[in-house]
């Protein structure tokens, strides 16, 4: 019984990270219909920025804030310079561009910071069954999801962003600056991605550190459904807890296989994810 509780708690803290990444993927998908493979690359550069800043100044939180800023700025640049030119082309073009960006960023990170792992601090104390750091992660993700919900549901900006995502041409006709909205979407998503990176990286940072987390982030987004923030968050926690239980009871070698099984089962029952509302039939 105690083991069960421990595994669940362990799953909750890794689930928070998956949820954050899933959120960021969801926003970009909602805004531009692109699955952003560059997300781990953007988050990686953000985290390395935090690493350098923290080493130089000794302040974790200064690094943290700058990581979010750099992450967001990179997202904005990526949208403007790379995604916009291919936006009107096939889904594949955008995937490939983001993939290329991922490779480029990982390569650049290796060039600048080397492939050796460096020590990377936790935001708060990491000790305890459910440590301050774990609580921070869960709270940060919860606040983010709630904030997104409020943003999308109740603010003019959110309304514009949704309109731009659903029907860009119509949105333009009612005065929405669609391009700006897409850029804002990428910016917000990349800030959240950077947050996910800051939560996922510790204790060590190296260029491939986010690869696995990213795969689970996509998995979480897919099983949760790319429709609303709660789907992504619930998908993240479901996956985190599920995989922790598999690792604890069945063995760590089965974790990736279990993720595959979960995806297959979920998608064969609900092809649009667990928490997507059944689609309104469009006439």
């Amino acid at each position: 019984m105690e083991q069960l509780a421990e595994l669940v708690l362990n799953g909750v803290s890794s689930g928070a990270v998956y949820a954050a990444l899933a959120l960021s993927l969801m926003i970009i998908y909602q805004a531009t219909r692109v699955v952003n493979f560059a997300q781990p690359g953007l988050a990686l550069i953000a985290a390395y920025t935090a690493f350098s800043v923290t080493r130089a100044t000794g302040s974790y939180w200064l690094g943290f804030v700058l990581a979010l800023v750099v992450g967001g700025a990179l997202g904005v640049l990526a949208e403007r310079l790379l995604i916009r030119p291919v936006q009107r082309r096939s889904e594949l073009s955008a995937i490939i561009v983001t993939l290329g960006l991922l490779m480029l960023l990982q390569g650049v990170a290796g060039m600048v910071w080397s492939n050796e792992p460096h020590s990377f601090p936790y935001p708060l104390d990491f000790r305890g069954r459910f440590s301050a750091t774990d609580a921070f992660a869960v709270a940060a993700v919860g606040v983010t999801a709630l904030g997104l919900l409020l943003l999308f549901r109740y603010t003019p900006l959110g309304l514009r962003m949704r309109a731009a995502a659903f029907r860009p041409e119509v949105a333009r006709m009612v005065g929405v600056r669609v391009g700006l909205m897409l850029t804002v979407g990428w910016g917000i998503a990349s800030v959240i991605g950077a947050l996910a990176g800051m939560l996922a990286v510790p204790p060590f940072i190296f260029p491939n550190v986010l690869d696995g987390v990213f795969v689970y982030g996509i998995t979480a987004a897919v099983i949760g459904g790319l429709d609303n923030p709660f789907g992504a968050v619930l998908g993240g926690f479901t996956l985190g807890i599920g995989l922790s239980l598999v690792s604890g009871y069945l063995g760590p070698e089965l974790v990736t296989l279990a993720a595959l099984v979960i995806v297959v089962v979920v998608l064969s029952l609900r092809p649009d994810g667990l928490f997507t509302r059944p689609r309104a039939r469009q006439v």
């Binding site: 003019p156 309304l159 514009r160 949704r162 309109a163 659903f166 029907r167 041409e169 119509v170 949105a171 333009r172 006709m173 009612v174 005065g175 929405v176 600056r177 669609v178 309104a280 039939r281 469009q282």
Partner: protein
Amino acid sequence: MSAPAPAPPALEVHDLVSAYGAVRAVDGVSLTVPAGSITAVLGANGAGKTTLLRTVSGAKAAQSGRVLADGVELTRLPADRVVRHGVAHVPEGGGVITQLTVEENLRLGGLWRADRADRVRAREEMYQLFPVLAERRRQPAGALSGGERQMLAIGRALMARPRVLLLDEPSLGLAPMVTRRLLRLLRELRDGTGLTVVLVEQNARGALSVADHGFVLSLGRVAASGDADRLLADDRTRHAYLGF
């Protein structure tokens, strides 16, 4: 200030050309729409009516030619700028965003305007104008019927308090009775607020019954134009282009 120049027309189009690849869907169209009028743009399927509206509103880029509203050059502006100059476009089918609620759709129409209080006022006016929308304000727009969607689309466009309203086939797919109500409403709006309406229609008889003027397009060019009554009375034009 010297003697006041005559007020410029609400909308002027000069030699407009708009193409899809090599196909010139609009091929040198010129027209003038007086302020406060209802103007019908008629023609068969594929005559270039929709492209004309889309090019005027900036949804599509023009190859050449000019578009002016109240004397202000709109030619190179994208759609989101054009609407800020008082030209609102209701696309074919209305373009309601089905995933948003009725109220969200409506609010969207006025969001670009800075005057918050007037945005709220405009919304209340729309609910008065279309009481059925008020009843269903919390429902997703996807749940509305065809006629209700048209009302929502028009209401959303009016939220911008435009001077010119471009309407693309509002009667498409609607029951005749609903269409008649819609057209009557346009007339009332024009009479009440001085709104200028450009109405693209395949239903020429219905459109001409409310319009002041009409233009007939054929293969991207203006084939005939004139007062609505005259066009209605002109058998040749009716038979050649309007099919009734």
